[in-house]
Amino acid sequence: MTYAQTPGEPSDFSDRRAPDLDSHLNHHLPQPTPECAGFGDLLPLLATDALTTDEVAATRAHLAGCGWCRAQLDAYAALDALARREYGADAPDARVAPPGLPDSVRVPFQMRQLQEQQMTMRPDDVTQAQLPDDEFTRGPIAAGFDSPTEQAVARSPRPDRSTVLVRRSGRLTGITALAATLLLVILAGILFRTHLAPGGRPTATTTQTPTLQPGADQVFFTHAVPWGVLTINGTTNIASFGTSLAATMPLTLPRGKTTLVYTAAPFNTLRCVISVPANKSDTCPLTQTLATYPGEQATASDLNGPSTPLPVEPKDVIVQQRTVDLGAIPNNLPTAALKSLVAATEQQLSHTASSTEVAIGDHYLGSDGKVAVAKTAFRATLSVAPPTQVASPSNGSETCAPFCAEAGPQPVAQNGWHISFFPVIQWQFAMPGVPVVVQQSPGTGDPIDVAVQWNNSAWKVAVSDTVSNGTIDEIVGNILSAAADPNGSAVGGGASATPLADGVLLLASSGNNNTYEGAVLYRAGVVVVATPGAHTFFPSLPLASAHEEAIAQQLLQQIPASVRATVK
């Protein structure tokens, strides 16, 4: 149970010595008055649009007679000014492009980076990013250069793939670099054995010419599952590819064309061709083609613009790599398989379900999303599930409906294919013809990790232990905060019934932490006002029925008397 009596943090500035703010926080600072505590959370917001008109008026009235709070306000203003100076548009070190370049060059600089990066995208999802050389070198971007030299640089042909160095975010520390080196050595041994027939005769041509760039014969893989099998040229099978070392380290391929077949039911089988060196006729979907990992001595000044070739730092780790996207992500599952995965996950989450009796006159969430009043008594069941019928949050550019391809932040201990989902609340009403109602939490935290295994015909799923009543409590809290907060007013701590479906009580606050404007109840998917004060505060919310009010009164008794006494 959590409560919301969060007073403003103590603000003793009598001995602070910060530069620039010192004048606002000096030894002559007036002493705070007892009323100041009530404005501790409002003062920082006075310069924003986050306060209501009444709050602004009350705060300004207090400021008129309080030197201590005026000094606090000045301190906030000084900090804002400092932040704008350091992080605003005119801040030092503002250029993403190297220092000294005119503004017109910054754009080509970034566009060149994009142009280089688009070579790292797989053809089927970002071929839109293909920016032809002509477009880049003769289009409006190049025209924006100031000097003939800059124009010449901008119009220079795109560097050859073998020499372009794309600076990415990979940062190898000494330890990880050593570990990577060791793994490469181990992998090389594995692959050496893998590609040699008994007796040591090679099954494929492994001769490399001096012109083959380092890493050009190495291929990484992504989006594999533990039960997948990778077949190379129809002869070499690597079972459990998704869990093997080879799935995270590069395979070294022979020169010429190599046919890859990745089998991981129920995913569709991937058959594609990849060549060493890379060939335009290759059909394997690639997510990356080149990468340079800066050495430890690399500095910010190494990031180069179009006029300067990217130097190779002595300690840089340069890898010319291609990554084959094997495509084993949730959204690529056939529809039936995805549905059965959702069902298996819901089954694992069944322990989160709880039920309550909705009486005649009680409120519930109708299938049209509006509040309905029960004309007959029925049973309502609450549970947590992956999102299936509502839009799910996205993680950056990744869509997570119903599952995210990445593991959750707190992985399940079980082995398997780790994916994740943003939990939603489901309400199921036991009335004929009434469908399941799904509510999306307005504010989601981290996604929930799921370990998945495929046993030839069915899914075996393990869900993170983090899905508990506490998780449901969080989701309900978010739903309630959004639903009962039309005026931007606070919704504070409260109490939850057991089982949770019986109701969750939340206290509404106008910002003054010492009193609560009333209590609201979340139940059957809707929020109703449970006390007279809440009706004044939230006039648009429906009044609780007698049954709902009785539940709310029981929950109020779980709140400490000192808090309860302040609830209007």
Binding site: Y3, E9, A89, L131
Partner: protein, 204 residues
């Protein structure tokens, strides 16, 4: 398997270049304020524009004809926030902690803070202070104080309720002010141990 290459038209390239030129500086500094390291901030910014280019090339909102520049700006800052948060998480710099008032705050070393003599005045003190904040707090502060987003916009960008955004903003400014003054007071050679916050403040 083989998809024909997409060729963007000059209008798309021009529009995207225009957006990029007007926002890249702000986005870089926003990312720098969140992740601290300028190199990482550049990577984040670069990835954001890659995302933007993909969306623009596909004609997806907010890069479609129906969206205005404010939508694009909000979108760019939102993606920057998400990418920065992801980068921080990958660097294991985010420590989740309940906002419940009756629980003692978890503490953990956030990052090694250099000696005071290595700091250079106000800018460094502000940078250090920013990094004592939880990422969402830092984002709330920067988005409001530096880039002028409203509380409602910040709520949408951080995927929290308006009340949560308001509470975050208030708390972020208080904590930043306290941290800033403490940075200036900190004796040489000390390592800053700070409480980072958040998870969801659904009902704080």
């Amino acid at each position: 398997m083989n998809t024909p290459p997409f060729t963007p038209g000059p209008e798309l390239v021009a529009r995207f270049s225009d957006v990029l030129s007007r926002t890249q500086t702000a986005l870089f500094h926003f990312a720098r304020g969140l992740v601290g390291d300028p190199e990482l901030a550049r990577d984040v910014t670069q990835d954001v524009f890659l995302d933007a280019w993909r969306a623009a090339a596909a004609g997806k909102p907010p890069f479609d004809a129906a969206s205005d520049e404010s939508n694009i700006r909000r979108w760019l800052f939102t993606v920057t926030w998400r990418r920065a948060a992801k980068a921080l998480r990958h660097n294991r710099l985010i420590i989740w902690e309940s906002l419940d008032a009756d629980q003692p705050p978890a503490t953990q070393t956030f990052a090694a803070i250099p000696h005071f003599e290595d700091q250079v005045g106000e800018a460094e003190a502000l940078r250090q202070a920013l990094h004592t904040l939880a990422p969402q707090d830092a984002a709330s502060f920067l988005l409001q104080a530096v880039y002028g987003f409203s509380a409602a916009e910040i709520a949408a960008m951080l995927d929290v309720t308006p009340e949560v955004a308001r509470k975050r903003l208030s708390r972020a400014r208080q904590r930043l002010r306290n941290a800033y003054t403490q940075q200036a007071q900190q004796p040489p050679g000390t390592t800053n141990t700070v409480a980072t916050t958040t998870h969801e403040e659904h009902r704080s």
